[in-house]
C-alpha cells in the first residue's frame, strides 16, 4: 500500500478539511462567504486560498516536492494573509494544520513501516514549507513597509527633484525597492 496513493484518493476530503481550518480564522460570516462563493472574481480570497491549498497538497504529499510549485502555492496564501491583520504565526498557520489532517488519515496504518517512513518524510516536507512560508511572509511585510516608506519619502522627494534642489545619480538601484529587491526571495 502506497500512502501517497491513499492520500490522493482522499484528496478532496483532506483539502476541504484543511481549507475549513484555514478559513476558520476569519469571522464566521467572512468564512462562509470565502467558502461558498465560487466566482473567483467575486471572491478572490476564498478561491485563491482554495486553489493554493490544492496545489500545496499535491506537493507536500510527494517525496520530492517541486520547489517552484511549492513557492507559488505558499505565496498565493501568504500574500493575502499578510495584509489581513493576522499575526505572523497565524498568517503561516495553515502549514501547521496539514500535518494532523494527513496523519489522521494514515493512523490506521500507523504500524506499517512504509507509512512510518512516509510520515517522517512528510515532516521534513512540512518543515521546508514552514521555512518558505516564513520567508515569503517576511517578504510581503517588507514590501508593505517599503510601499509605506516610499510613499512618505516620494511625497517630498519628487518635488525636490523636480525643482532641481536635488540631483540624483541617474542609474538603476537608486530606489529603495531596487536595492532591497536583491535581497528579497533569497
Amino acid at each position: 500500500m502506497n500512502p501517497q496513493t491513499l492520500l490522493l484518493e482522499k484528496r478532496k476530503e483532506i483539502v476541504n478539511q484543511w481549507f475549513d481550518e484555514v478559513i476558520a480564522a476569519y469571522s464566521e460570516d467572512g468564512a462562509k462567504f470565502f467558502k461558498k462563493t465560487k466566482d473567483p472574481f467575486a471572491n478572490p480570497v476564498g478561491r485563491t486560498l482554495y486553489r493554493c491549498l490544492n496545489e500545496l497538497f499535491d506537493e507536500v504529499i510527494k517525496t520530492d516536492m517541486d520547489k517552484a510549485a511549492v513557492e507559488n502555492a505558499i505565496d498565493g496564501i501568504v500574500r493575502i494573509q499578510s495584509v489581513q491583520e493576522f499575526q505572523p504565526s497565524d498568517a503561516i498557520g495553515f502549514i501547521f494544520t496539514i500535518k494532523p489532517t494527513i496523519s489522521q488519515r494514515l493512523k490506521r496504518y500507523g504500524d506499517d513501516t512504509a507509512v512510518k517512513k512516509y510520515l517522517t518524510a512528510l515532516d521534513a516536507n512540512i518543515e521546508r514549507l514552514l521555512r518558505k512560508a516564513f520567508d515569503l511572509y517576511m517578504g510581503c511585510r517588507q514590501k508593505v513597509f517599503l510601499f509605506r516608506a516610499n510613499q512618505s519619502r516620494d511625497r517630498v522627494r519628487q518635488l525636490l527633484v523636480k525643482k532641481g534642489y536635488i540631483e540624483e545619480i541617474p542609474e538603476k538601484g537608486d530606489n529603495l525597492e531596487d536595492i532591497t529587491a536583491k535581497s528579497d526571495n533569497k
Binding site: 476558520a24 497565524d90 508593505v144 516608506a149
Partner: protein, 540 residues
C-alpha cells in the same frame, strides 16, 4: 511613523474565534497601525471645523466636547431635514443582502461590518433610536441602539473604511447608496473635529494655495516647464503653455496628482502634447490648479468652497469653457455637484470643440467637458495623426474608475480612445468593469501610507481581475482615468501582479500622437525604449 504595539500587547489583542454575536455587540477595536492619522488643528481651523487638539484614534478617551451627544443629535436632525436621500436610505433598507458581498473591503477582509448594509446600519441604528416612533418605543427590538462613545469610534473606523465607490448602490433594489451614508457619517464626525489628516491637509492646502499639495504658483509653473523640457527631449518640439492668461478660449484643469507624482506626470505631459499638436488656445491656472476635491470626502460645504475656484477663475480669465483632465472623484463633483453648488455658469459658452466644431450639448449648462470626450471626438473626426504601434509593447486593459463609471457613465469614450492609440487592448471580466467596476481600494481619501494594508486588501478584487488578463493575454499595462488610481495602482500592482504598470490614457495618446515637426521618437514619455520587449514596470 506610528509606534508599534509591543508583542505581548499584540498577542493579547488577537482573537480569531468567529463572532457568535450580533454586530451591535462586537466592539470595533481601533488598533494601532490600522487607522489613518487624525487631522491637525491648523488644517481644520482654516476650514472652520472644530479643533480637538492633539489626539490619536488609539487613545482610550477621545477628545469629545461635553455636549457631543447633542451635537451629533442635532447634526443628524439637520441632515435628515436637508437630504431626502438620507431619510430614504435610513428608512427603506429591507436588509435583503443584495449588497453584502459587493464591497471590495468585505471581499478582501471578510469583516462583516464591511458589508454595505451593516456599514449603513451603524448610522441607521442611531437614527431609529433617536428619530423614529418605533425605535423610541421599542428600542433594541426595532433595531435601535444608544449613541455612545463606542459608536463614535466605530463610525470613525468604518466610515474611513469605505471608499464611497458606489458599487453597492448598483445592486441595491432601492438604490441605497452607501457613499451617501458614509458622507453623512463623516460630516457628523466632522462636527466633533474627528477627521483624518490625509483628507484635511489637502482640503486646507487646496483652499489656500489652490491645490492639494500646497504647491505655490511659481513652483507649479516650474514643474510644467520641466515637463516641457522632457517633451522637447523626446519630440524635439518646444512647448510654451500659458498660465493665468486672460482671454484664452479654454481653461484646462486637472488634478494636482498629474503634475506631482509619477506616473500621473506622464499623463500631464500627454495633455500638453495633445494641446500643442492641436494648437489649442488654452491656459492653465495656478489659482484653480486642482481638479480633485477632497472636500467631497469631508462635507458638502468644504466641497463647495474648493469647487468654487473653477468657475471663479474661468470668469476672471474670461475663457469660453472649461476642459477637465483625467480624475475620478473630480468628475463626480463636476457632474453631480458643481453646477448646483456654484452655478449657473452663465458667463461661459456652451463648449464647442474649436478643432472639430462639435458642440458638447451634454455639458451645455455646466460648461465643462471631460478630456476623453474631447479626445474621442477628435479621433472620430480624424483630427489626430496617430501611430498606435508606438504603444505596441503595451498590452493594455482598462480600469473603469468608480466615479466616472457610476456617477457619470463615462464608459465608451475612454475605450474608444484606447482602441485608437493602442493595438492591444483586453477587457477584464464583465462583473469587474463598467458600472460593476471594482475600486482601487484607496478612494475617498484613503490613499495614505498609514493604511497601506487596508488599501492592498481592499484593492485585491481589482488586482485579481487584472491578474486574470495578465495571465491570459499577457496584459502589462493598466490604463485608468483617475489620479488616485494612478497613485494607488503602482503599489497595488507591485504587490499582487508585479508585471503590470499603470498609465493614464493621455500618456498612451501622446505616445501614439504624431506631432508636426517632431523628430523621430526613440522613447516613450517615460524615456523608455519604444520597442522594448521587457518593459520595466513603473515605480511607485
Amino acid at each position: 511613523m506610528e509606534e508599534l504595539p509591543k508583542p505581548d500587547e499584540m498577542y493579547e489583542s488577537i482573537d480569531h474565534t468567529p463572532p457568535e454575536e450580533e454586530w451591535e455587540k462586537i466592539e470595533s477595536p481601533i488598533k494601532r497601525g490600522r487607522y489613518a492619522y487624525p487631522a491637525k488643528d491648523k488644517n481644520l481651523a482654516i476650514m472652520e471645523f472644530p479643533t480637538p487638539g492633539e489626539w490619536s484614534p488609539a487613545d482610550e478617551e477621545w477628545p469629545l466636547p461635553d455636549n457631543w451627544q447633542q451635537i451629533i443629535h442635532e447634526g443628524f436632525k439637520e441632515r435628515l431635514e436637508k437630504y431626502r436621500s438620507l431619510k430614504i436610505f435610513m428608512d427603506t433598507c429591507v436588509r435583503c443582502g443584495a449588497c453584502a458581498d459587493k464591497c471590495h473591503y468585505f471581499i478582501g477582509t471578510g469583516d462583516p461590518k464591511n458589508m454595505p448594509v451593516v456599514r449603513a446600519e451603524l448610522l441607521r441604528s442611531i437614527y431609529r433610536n433617536d428619530f423614529t416612533t418605533a425605535g423610541k418605543i421599542l428600542g433594541k427590538i426595532a433595531g435601535g441602539r444608544k449613541l455612545t462613545k463606542e459608536v463614535i469610534k466605530e463610525w470613525f473606523a468604518y466610515f474611513y473604511q469605505c471608499s464611497e465607490c458606489r458599487r453597492c448602490s448598483v445592486f441595491c433594489p432601492y438604490g441605497i447608496d452607501t457613499a451617501e451614508v458614509t458622507m453623512m457619517g463623516r460630516e457628523l464626525l466632522n462636527l466633533l473635529g474627528l477627521n483624518i489628516n490625509w483628507i484635511m491637509e489637502p482640503v486646507a492646502n487646496c483652499f489656500r494655495t489652490g491645490n492639494h499639495l500646497g504647491i505655490q504658483p511659481h513652483a507649479f509653473k516650474e514643474m510644467v516647464e520641466f515637463f516641457c523640457d522632457d517633451i522637447e527631449e523626446i519630440t524635439g518640439l518646444k512647448l510654451n503653455p500659458s498660465f493665468n492668461r486672460k482671454g484664452a478660449e479654454i481653461l484646462f484643469i486637472t488634478p494636482s496628482g498629474d503634475y506631482f507624482a509619477d506616473p500621473g506626470t506622464y499623463t500631464f505631459m500627454g495633455y500638453l502634447m495633445l494641446f500643442e499638436a492641436l494648437g489649442l488656445d488654452y491656459t492653465l491656472s495656478t489659482y484653480a490648479s486642482e481638479g480633485g476635491n477632497f472636500g467631497l470626502f469631508t462635507s458638502s460645504d468644504a466641497m463647495k468652497k474648493l469647487n468654487s475656484k473653477m468657475y471663479a477663475e474661468a470668469k476672471r480669465l474670461g475663457v469660453k469653457w472649461i476642459l477637465g483632465g483625467e480624475c475620478g472623484h473630480m468628475w463626480r463633483v463636476i457632474n453631480q455637484y458643481m453646477d448646483t453648488m456654484n452655478g449657473p455658469a452663465d458667463f461661459l459658452e456652451v463648449p464647442k470643440s474649436p478643432i472639430t466644431g462639435t458642440v458638447f450639448d451634454n455639458a451645455k449648462s455646466t460648461k465643462m467637458v471631460h478630456i476623453t470626450e474631447f479626445t474621442a471626438d477628435l479621433i472620430r473626426h480624424n483630427k489626430l495623426k496617430l501611430d498606435p504601434s508606438r504603444n505596441d509593447k503595451f498590452k493594455v486593459t482598462y480600469h473603469d474608475s468608480c466615479n466616472p463609471a457610476r456617477a457619470m457613465g463615462l464608459l465608451e469614450e475612454p475605450r474608444y480612445v484606447i482602441k485608437n492609440v493602442c493595438n492591444y487592448f483586453y477587457e477584464m471580466p464583465e462583473n469587474t468593469i463598467r458600472e460593476k467596476t471594482f475600486c482601487c481600494g484607496s478612494g475617498s481619501g484613503l490613499n495614505t501610507e498609514e493604511v497601506m494594508d487596508l488599501r492592498l486588501r481592499g484593492g485585491l478584487p481589482r488586482a485579481n481581475a487584472v491578474k486574470h488578463v495578465h495571465d491570459k493575454y499577457g496584459v502589462n499595462m493598466l490604463a485608468c482615468i483617475c489620479a488616485i488610481d494612478r497613485a494607488a495602482f503602482p503599489p497595488l500592482m507591485e504587490y499582487w501582479v508585479p508585471e503590470v504598470g499603470t498609465t493614464g490614457i493621455h500618456e498612451l495618446v501622446a505616445n501614439a500622437l504624431i506631432m508636426d515637426g517632431e523628430k523621430e521618437r526613440t522613447t516613450d514619455l517615460r524615456f523608455e525604449s519604444l520597442k522594448e520587449e521587457e518593459d520595466e514596470a513603473d515605480e511607485g
